[in-house]
Symmetry: C2
Subunit: 359 residues, 2 copies
Amino acid sequence: MSRVFNFSAGPSALPEAVLLQAQREMLDWNGSGMSVMEMSHRGKEFMGIAAEFKANLIALMQIPANYKVLFLQGGATGQFSFIPQNILGAKTKACYVNTGAWSTKAIKAAKSYCDVEIAATSEASNFTEIPAVDTWKLDSEAAYLHYTSNETIHGVEFQEIPDTQGIPLVADMSSNILSRAIDVSKYGIIYAGTQKNMGPSGVTVVIVREDLLGAVDPKLPEVFNYAKQANSDSMLNTPASYNWYLVGLVMQWLQDQGGVAAIEQRNIAQANRLYAAIDASSLYSNPVNIAHRSRMNIPFVLNDASLDKEFLANANKTGLIGLKGHRAVGGMRASIYNAMTDAGVDALIEFMATFEKNH
Amino acid sequence: MSRVFNFSAGPSALPEAVLLQAQREMLDWNGSGMSVMEMSHRGKEFMGIAAEFKANLIALMQIPANYKVLFLQGGATGQFSFIPQNILGAKTKACYVNTGAWSTKAIKAAKSYCDVEIAATSEASNFTEIPAVDTWKLDSEAAYLHYTSNETIHGVEFQEIPDTQGIPLVADMSSNILSRAIDVSKYGIIYAGTQKNMGPSGVTVVIVREDLLGAVDPKLPEVFNYAKQANSDSMLNTPASYNWYLVGLVMQWLQDQGGVAAIEQRNIAQANRLYAAIDASSLYSNPVNIAHRSRMNIPFVLNDASLDKEFLANANKTGLIGLKGHRAVGGMRASIYNAMTDAGVDALIEFMATFEKNH
């Protein structure tokens, strides 16, 4: 079989150039006589790979010098717990904005560590919009404000960075990191699992402003202590070394594409084409407020749900994979992360049009 | 360069057959049109890979039906914290046996969660032996007794499973899991990072007896809650899916070798040859009590430490990599895990003999 177009929400499609390079280097990286996954993480070969990976991420996101960049494990879901354990300090409250399934999970986890104040929620509209920032209830005594910059399941995305009036801003960027230019200096913490825009699963990137590091919860395990991992360059214990290498290859690929600004333009164009096709059809629809639609995850429903099965089966046969929507919202979802090609989006649009014509 | 003989302590050498299969399947697993790392972890292809991996591990270790087998993240070091958080329940004490650097780390971490009672320690002999089990101080009120079945740095290994008189036995088996047949039913918990005998880093195997699952520390993050992960087949959140696949390939390879009993015989033979060469020489020596020597990690020193640099440089030139000892003990260390070939051990012994003759 030839390669499919993979619209999975994560793990998700990777650039073919990255897979080809990993394939070439599988038994012998750069004349070392070893696969990267066989290398001691303390050896000079892997230390070089790790340093280049980190430097490339810093360059791509223009991360200021007063931020620490950590590569941890446990996924964004692990960080839901480790963030309060790392940065609450003497404070007892944190603000959370609820814009969908992933915010909801972050809120649930945080309640084991602090008083959670809901600054805003779009639950009443079934998470099809983002509450206007000027209506948020901010508490100046909160240790931080947490939000989810892109909701993978509900397909809503912040188009601007919210102003929290000095409260440290913490963002789960798992599903839109590196897909658009952002000003890192506006954030206290940015975190993201790698399995959407950055590579395979197994690494969690945490970018944390130095002044937030300090007194931690005594029950925080050492390997998730941001300050200690920062001092050890994320090698307090054995890292997921092969995953670091693969994510590093994706960073190189992104630079080859022209960096974040260039990929953002491609992402905008792809999302616009797909939304336009949905909006122009009478079979498909997307419920999200147009101003808050995600460029990365595009859920849509068929106006006759009895056609869902046939739609998915035909799509699979055509080599369009991973289009089934999350059970929380039903219907379909096309995830079009950085690695999605124009050809993939065009093939989906063409398939959808043909399917509509035939029904 | 051709492939080297890699004696690194972990991450470490992998079977060439595994790397070749991963290379072949990199862009297209089994006609799916996807790399395994691109697959949705909820899709039927990856669910099949995961089920086969787990079934193979259960078969290889003959894990009884009343145990849960979990594939987590964070390394053994993470589990140093998550074990007390998962199983202390209402108890406030745990016993630890200190046989080297890794036990010492486990003890330090546990002190954040409970009163640690040292049942036995070989610190006085610089961790060159294992305290006789009949001298251990056991406390029947302890929630569990923790030991390290093989000390990667100090090169001491338990040759028998200690009898703890009913106290649940917890073992860090990171560096000798699957290298020898063991009776899993003697254990409460077995855990191990994968980067030594099982594959690349990035997965932590936890095998836990069901009756130990119960009341957890309220500050335990959900993704490290053994009971919850058991109910979700270790997919409470996105797993390190490609790592699971690679470890699964190593499990298949181990079955092809004849399973644990067969690899144990090869491991015994390899270790015996290397220890015999060390003991017969007047240049090299190993300080560990002969009855407690590790089959996996063989530290040795040169009687003239000024030769260390030349030894390592010449070894590297000969394609023998990763022989530098840990800074805690100095000298050299040859890690000869399951994937080490007879040819690799023979090449090392020959190199050592030639080096001795020339000095």
